[in-house]
Symmetry: C3
Subunit: 413 residues, 3 copies
């Protein structure tokens, strides 16, 4: 490994870091677009704060819990101290990560991943969760839960020893976020008026351009999420990951489109947006090992799952305003299992990983949220929900002048 | 060519791929911002599906039609089989493209270009074309028409032999999209109420921030569109391309601004946005060969053309809601010819390229669209057009809660 | 320095250039989101034109005023001629900038910085400044004022000789923009109705999603703003800058959040957005020399300053619709001084730099704006201000159909 190769690898991981960063804007705009107008500021606020808590938490302890280093590796849990501890006192350049990239690079790339988990939850619990209790949950989820299961595979733990494969996090990131979301929406309950005696009442998102921006930015960021997970600038590997990622996303969108149209006679734009995300989540576990042809199949199945999954969660009266459980949990599981079919071939190992990660994460999230619920409550009052969280929590509207000043002026003319 | 240089070149083309990808969000937001609110979901939906169809189509056949390889090169048409065929079974690293970048890298970079053509058309036909017939056209346009003319130059075909120069696609991408748009708007006819007995009725776009986001993202992506077309990370060449691209865009905006102001007494924001795009399209054919000074002149002329061109198309009653024909067709032609003046010096060769590419593309698009029109119709009903395609095709509005729930609540207080 | 290292360094600076470019969209969307709806097109228009004027001006003379070269260095002012003058006639590759990157790369990276200064001003003067006089000011500010103080440090001038440290521009870019903004809002006066006998009337921004997009894009671009200021792809240095930049931003947001909540009982989203920006501005001067721990402290202090500063400016009746003076001027000063505490240790030298740069810039901006004010006036008429600049300057609304056609249709149903 020469100094030059080190520099190139390091540069690519840093660029990938920027890309994963912009996924947080993707989540923020997607979730904002898919909620009702009256809860827009609230969801934006949460996404901003989640990212900031995530980064700082991961600095304080998360990184060292997820990557405890050789001494602790191979096990269930380990911790190598608070803050950033340069392994050799020389900016961690030459000795770190097989000389592939700098210590600080590793930290910041992984830190951007950590915060995405909580963003997944924030969409599912939108429009009815209390801000402060949710931030407490985010803090615990990102600082403890996510790094532990992450360590099992990426930190060299027992799942890694077992031969479990999860390239960029269909299970470790997306299903983990999805399990957290599932626990939360079970404990929270549905939004008022969502499930009526007459059936499911659709509560459409308030801003489709915003949601579309979100999905494009998520895809954009996924180039770094998956491409950076190669952990080097290896030309063949990164190029393949770009191809599988894009083909998976594209085929996901098209099967969602086709299934929605033929099965439900619908050209629902937000469904197709979730089809793209389903394809992306599905491809993530095996983006480096699928062939382009397999990628199309994996994405297509993910996309076909989406409309059925969304309908199923509604049948179960599990109210998820943005479809996060369908996208991240269901397609995350599918993608992880798909590696057992199209990639490593170890289907049973993949299944074990999915189940144990799910059991741990769901239990952690459920217990934490249950305690919070009993202690201070999770849900806003009915009156707050009706009036919207923007006014009641933040005392501001998302589109101040559209509602008031100018509109009146415009119609008066 | 060392392994390290290969890695750097490959990395840059992949990064450029991400940038061209985000241009699709640029097109989506620009077009959404420039149409009426009632057709917003429809245009977003189309842009999402176009990208996905484009990528998959290019995977199946487009790439091999555009780059048929040495055996078929030099001619009019060639095809090297379906899917991705690694030339040497080793991920196409060392033997491919003079060892400059990986086979998969080449594919995904070119695939991102292919879909842009159809996005250009989608803006021009907005607010009145039927969704499904349009998607059929997109499929044929991207899978057959674009790769054939592309092969003439970039695949080593007859235009390349002739000395025709089109660095990053003023002709091969932008004018091709523009010719498709022209054929389509001739066959479709103008939007109802656009051309009245009293003259042209302006139908302003519904969301200027969205349109502005679109143009900035397109400029942002153009760094990859033009910069990646260097096909290596050669420092001098990429740096020059960045400079000419930015200066062309900037001078395009300023001349549009000045011409609009002095000639039409207008500070029309959407016109200036199109001035930027005109400058970018104009610079694209010669971004690697113009001096910075020439780039400013080429961009300035493109920007000066825009307001006149927009007025001219309206005089011809060719209704183009977003100005795509002015930006991509007219400035694409200008940019291609400009290479003959400021670059290669072979003006006549450039003119031949413009004319033959135009004749082929316009004919292809016209015939395909004519057949579709006769077979199933191209245009939505008058009632659908009046009510808007969001409600009539997608059963959803772009801004659900702004129109209903919250607004009523806000004024009631 | 090998050719390969040159290529990597050059590539990174070009990528950083793209990132700084997208900050202009960040400024445009942030400012548009924080003004009233009736002035949205106007602020978007200004941001577009500012960028274009900035790039062209910097090409014509700014670059050569800021980097006059060895012969003029060390002094107060120097100029090496108009346009781009390749130092050695070979694209400036090998001999330029210690062989670290190409001449054109240097130009375009610096040109992107130059235009940001004026964008900072545009937010503060929003909703009441006349377009054309403002553009004249921008032209003079970017072409003369910014390059001169920039040269004092980055061009090798007297502040550099003195040991003054400003890594990426807390003082040279942000405080310079902030001083310009301060001079302008003093001369312009507050928006009508902002300061009443009953106290300060809040004029909330009209579009929080747009403002949020702006801040995320600014953070995104800051990876290039700070990361590119390393002026090479040095792995340890760029990685550290990424870490300090992100931790500074995150801790800025959290302290603004906490201070706002505990001191003002407010969960004001736009305040937290400015907290992020305050953290970013604060970290910029020492992003390469702070430890991660110091970065958190510097960002936290910046974030804690923001709510108090915003209140203070309002007490002084200095009306700044977007909080640009708090973010860029106050936090820019803080960040520059912070280097004297946590970085270089030369607090007094930092103070000298802050004061002299401020004195020069404020005086320049004040005099130029005063002359413009006396000559043609700076401020729009009361009637224009009341009706909004979109209609009165641009004859168009930002959200045409939301206000009119469709809304009426939607409620009629």
């Amino acid at each position: 490994m020469t100094e030059v190769t080190f520099t190139i690898n390091n540069l690519w991981i840093l660029i990938a870091t920027m890309m994963v960063f912009i996924m947080h804007l993707g989540f923020a705009t997607l979730e904002a677009g898919l909620v009702q107008q009256k809860n827009t500021v609230n969801i934006l606020f949460k996404n901003v704060i989640i990212l900031c808590i995530g980064l700082l938490t991961y600095y304080v302890s998360g990184f060292n819990l997820m990557y405890p280093g050789a001494e602790y590796a191979g096990g269930i849990i380990g911790f190598s101290g608070f803050g950033l501890n340069l392994p050799d006192g020389t900016a961690g350049l030459s000795e770190y990560a097989d000389g592939k990239y700098a210590y600080y690079t590793d930290f910041i790339f992984q830190a951007m991943f950590a915060a995405t988990c909580a963003s997944i939850v924030s969409g599912a619990v939108a429009e009815r969760i209390k801000l402060m209790p949710f931030l407490v949950f985010v803090f615990l989820f990102v600082s403890i839960c996510y790094p532990i299961t992450g360590m099992w595979k990426w930190g060299g733990g027992w799942l890694n020893e077992l031969g479990f494969v999860d390239f960029a996090g269909s299970a470790l990131v997306h299903s983990v976020g999805g399990w957290g979301a599932l626990a939360a929406i079970i404990l929270l309950g549905a939004r008022s008026g969502k499930y009526t005696e007459k059936g499911v009442r659709p509560i459409p998102g308030h801003n489709m351009p915003l949601a579309t921006i979100g999905v494009f930015l998520l895809w954009f960021g996924w180039f770094g999420f998956n491409g950076g997970s190669v952990l080097s600038a290896d030309p063949g590997a990164v190029a393949l990951v770009f191809v599988t990622t894009c083909l998976g996303a594209a085929s996901g969108a098209l099967t969602t489109f086709m299934v929605s149209y033929w099965r439900f006679k619908s050209l629902d734009h937000s469904m197709v947006l979730n089809g793209i995300l389903g394809g992306l989540v599905g491809i993530t576990a095996g983006a480096d090992s699928f062939t382009p042809g397999s990628a199309i199949i994996v994405g297509a199945i993910a996309g076909a799952i989406i409309p059925f999954s969304v309908v199923l969660f509604d049948k179960l009266k599990l109210d998820d305003p943005v479809g996060a459980t369908s996208v991240h949990l269901v397609c995350g599981i599918w993608g992880t299992l798909a590696v057992g079919i199209f990639g490593s071939g170890k289907f049973f190992t993949q299944l074990i990983g999915v189940v144990i990660i799910g059991a741990f994460t769901f239990t952690f999230a459920f217990v934490v949220l249950y305690i919070i619920k009993k202690a201070v409550g999770l849900r806003v009052t009915e009156d707050m929900e009706r009036r919207g969280l923007d006014i009641t929590e933040h005392e501001m509207g998302a589109y101040q002048n559209i509602d008031r000043g100018n509109f009146a002026m415009a119609v008066a003319k």
